[in-house]
């Protein structure tokens, strides 16, 4: 099944800066994420987790090694190919990063409009369905400022999952939330990902949500290691 790996990283190195200022962030990182797998990445701040996430998300250009996402090699990929890959990845950020001037439904539609197969009417209906799935059916036409932190993050989840991405990248999605809303958000994320068969790579410091993972990896000083954990299931 390795051919169908959603993410396949081999011997990836990454550094910021040049010459004397060069600072290597990632050392010989290898990681494989299979279809439908939920992987949690933990580790201290500044260890390179976010850098790895941005590389997988095609937000940064890889420098050395191999990084294949959704079957596309990103090493040496051009801007156009990178943008293309981004459209098939769902992002969830620490801050919800919703567009403030448009409603919850329109925010979700923004990710659907990237895909030509949805007509505007379909996109609108699909966005409503997605928001219903995250329990916000009564808040479709509210702008983000009228929603609570947990509700906003749920809109962000709906936005990330609306186009049925094969891969979801989440960077500390619960960091800005209290433990109850955080739990709620993660449960919804897990449930929807399972239904859609999406893989998740989730970066977190929050030990209380580790149980949703199939696998936990740890990043420390730019080196990735597999954690032996017993997960809740």
């Amino acid at each position: 099944m390795t051919d169908e790996s959603i993410v396949k990283i081999e011997n990836l190195n990454f550094a910021f800066g040049e010459g004397n200022l060069r600072k290597q962030i990632l050392f010989d990182v290898s990681l494989q994420i299979e279809r439908g797998e939920i992987v949690i990445m933990t580790g201290p701040s500044g260890g390179g987790k976010t850098t790895l996430l941005t590389l997988i998300g095609a937000l940064r250009s890889a420098q050395e090694g191999s990084i294949s996402v959704l079957g596309k090699e990103l090493l040496g990929a051009g801007e156009r190919e990178m943008v293309g890959v981004r459209r098939y990845i769902g992002y969830i950020f620490q801050a919800h990063n919703l567009l403030k001037s448009i409603t919850a439904r329109q925010n979700v539609m923004m990710s659907l409009e990237l895909h030509d197969q949805f007509s505007p009417v379909e996109a609108s209906e699909k966005a409503a369905a997605m928001l219903k799935a995250v329990g916000l059916e009564e808040h479709l036409d509210k702008i983000p400022d009228k929603l609570s932190g947990g509700q906003k993050q749920r809109v962000a989840i709906a936005r990330a999952l609306a186009a049925h991405p094969k891969l979801i990248l989440a960077d500390e999605p619960t960091a800005a939330l209290d433990s109850k809303s955080g739990r709620n958000v993660v449960d919804i994320l897990q449930k929807l990902a399972r239904e859609q068969g999406s893989s998740i790579l989730l970066v977190t410091h929050d030990n209380r949500i580790l149980d949703i993972a199939d696998r936990i990896v740890s990043m420390e000083d730019g080196r990735l290691s597999e954690e032996k954990i017993s997960n809740g299931k």
């Binding site: 976010t50 996430l53 941005t54 998300g57 937000l59 940064r60 943008v83 293309g84 981004r86 459209r87 098939y88 990845i89 992002y91 950020f93 620490q94 801050a95 990063n97 919703l98 567009l99 403030k100 001037s101 448009i102 439904r105 329109q106 539609m109 923004m110 990710s111 409009e113 990237l114 505007p120 009417v121 609108s124 936005r159 960077d171």
Partner: protein, 383 residues
């Protein structure tokens, strides 16, 4: 909810106060341009209204004349000599000068522009002249321009009440015997027209010295050929112009020899700059405020091109929203200025289009400037 999300409009209209401020700024800039262009065109057109309304094919003027309002005289003999040419049907003199008019009701003096024509002259195509010119053949009578500035007195109303309106012009009593409609210009606040003899009395000048000569050709004569023939016979200090050249001669003076054209164009440019600054401020703030959101859109797979379009759409929307009230305001101000100054400032389609294009360009340039900030919306930075 149908169609794609109109993000540009939603982003702009989210903060109503800011949107209104932006529209007000753009409107101001566009109105400023309308007024500057309007006044400029009014100046240039009013200075040539007289030229355009004189029926004639060729015009003789002194080479030292700079414009209609400060002309140098030359001998009437030169005018009549042109009649030796078979192709000249008629040759008529025009006398021109400026004298103080004492308002008969306030006794305040103000300079008025006076033209004298031969008694049976049909040279002038000005409303009212044909009907009334016969009234001023008696001594010390004049026709008064109803479009003169109000400072000359409410001549027409008193006249219509049946009063005899008499005023002092250069210490000489004259009576108004009728009216015409010409309009004030930048150089003349009011106008009188009378016969050559009355003109002579007012100015105490000899009729042998004329300001302009008007020639009309016989049917079938070739304008350029005749002009060239006349040119050869003229002394060095008199030249001959066609009607178009005569109009252009006046216009060129006001455009070139004075700073008026420059002043108005400068004013219009100032409006444009103000508009660019205001629009740039609004669009730049918009981009800065939404930088994380735009970075998110890029992370989702939106291209730079999409975001660029959003900013440019915003600039176009702003220009449209600013232009419409500007057009309405300008129309109102034009009417006000025409009524107040007697200057015929009119909205022309050409000027409307010009200001519209400039407004769009103004907002577009601001949009392009603001877009440089968009590049900083780096999706890698938002994690």
């Amino acid at each position: 909810m149908f169609g794609k999300i109109p993000l540009a409009w939603l982003q702009l209209s989210f903060q109503k106060t800011r949107l209104l401020t932006a529209i007000a700024g753009i409107t101001f800039a566009a109105v400023l341009m309308f007024m500057q262009f309007g006044f400029q065109e009014a100046l240039f057109s009013t200075t040539t209204t007289i030229h355009k309304s004189i029926r004639g094919d060729l015009f003789l003027i002194s080479t030292q004349s700079e414009n209609l309002f400060s002309s140098r005289q030359f001998s009437r003999r030169i005018l009549y000599q042109t009649l030796n040419n078979q192709n000249i049907g008629s040759a008529s003199p025009i006398y021109i000068g400026i004298l103080p008019w004492k308002n008969p009701w306030t006794n305040k003096e103000r300079a008025i522009f006076i033209m004298g024509f031969e008694p049976n002259s049909t040279l002038l195509e000005i409303k009212g002249i044909k009907e009334n010119f016969g009234n001023v053949t008696t001594e010390d009578t004049v026709l008064f321009d109803t479009l003169s500035r109000p400072e000359f007195g409410d001549v027409e109303a008193n006249f219509k009440k049946g009063e005899r309106v008499r005023a002092e012009v250069n210490k000489r009593k004259v009576e108004v015997r009728g009216f015409f409609e010409l309009g004030a210009s930048f150089a003349a606040d009011g106008n009188l027209i009378t016969t050559d003899l009355n003109f002579q009395r007012l100015f105490n000048r000899k009729l042998g010295q004329i300001d302009f000569g008007v020639l009309s050709l016989v049917d079938g004569a070739n304008l350029e050929v005749v002009k060239a023939e006349i040119e050869k016979t003229l002394p060095k200090d008199v030249r001959v112009l066609t009607k178009d050249e005569f109009v252009q001669f006046e216009r060129a003076y006001w455009e070139g020899a004075t700073a008026i054209g420059f002043v108005f164009n400068f004013g219009a440019i100032l409006g444009l700059v103000v508009g660019v600054i205001i629009t740039y401020q609004v669009l730049y703030t918009d981009v800065v405020n939404h930088l994380p959101e735009y970075a998110t859109l890029k992370a989702m797979g939106y291209t730079n091109g999409y975001l660029t379009r959003v900013v440019l759409e915003e600039s176009i929307i702003l220009s449209l929203l600013g232009f419409v009230p500007a057009l309405i305001t300008a129309l109102a101000l034009y009417a006000l200025a025409s009524a107040g100054s007697g200057l015929p400032i009119e909205m022309t389609a050409g000027r409307g289009i010009l200001v519209f294009v400039l407004t769009v360009v103004m907002c577009f340039v601001s949009g392009l400037l603001a877009m440089r900030k968009l590049k900083q919306a780096d999706p890698a930075d938002i994690f």
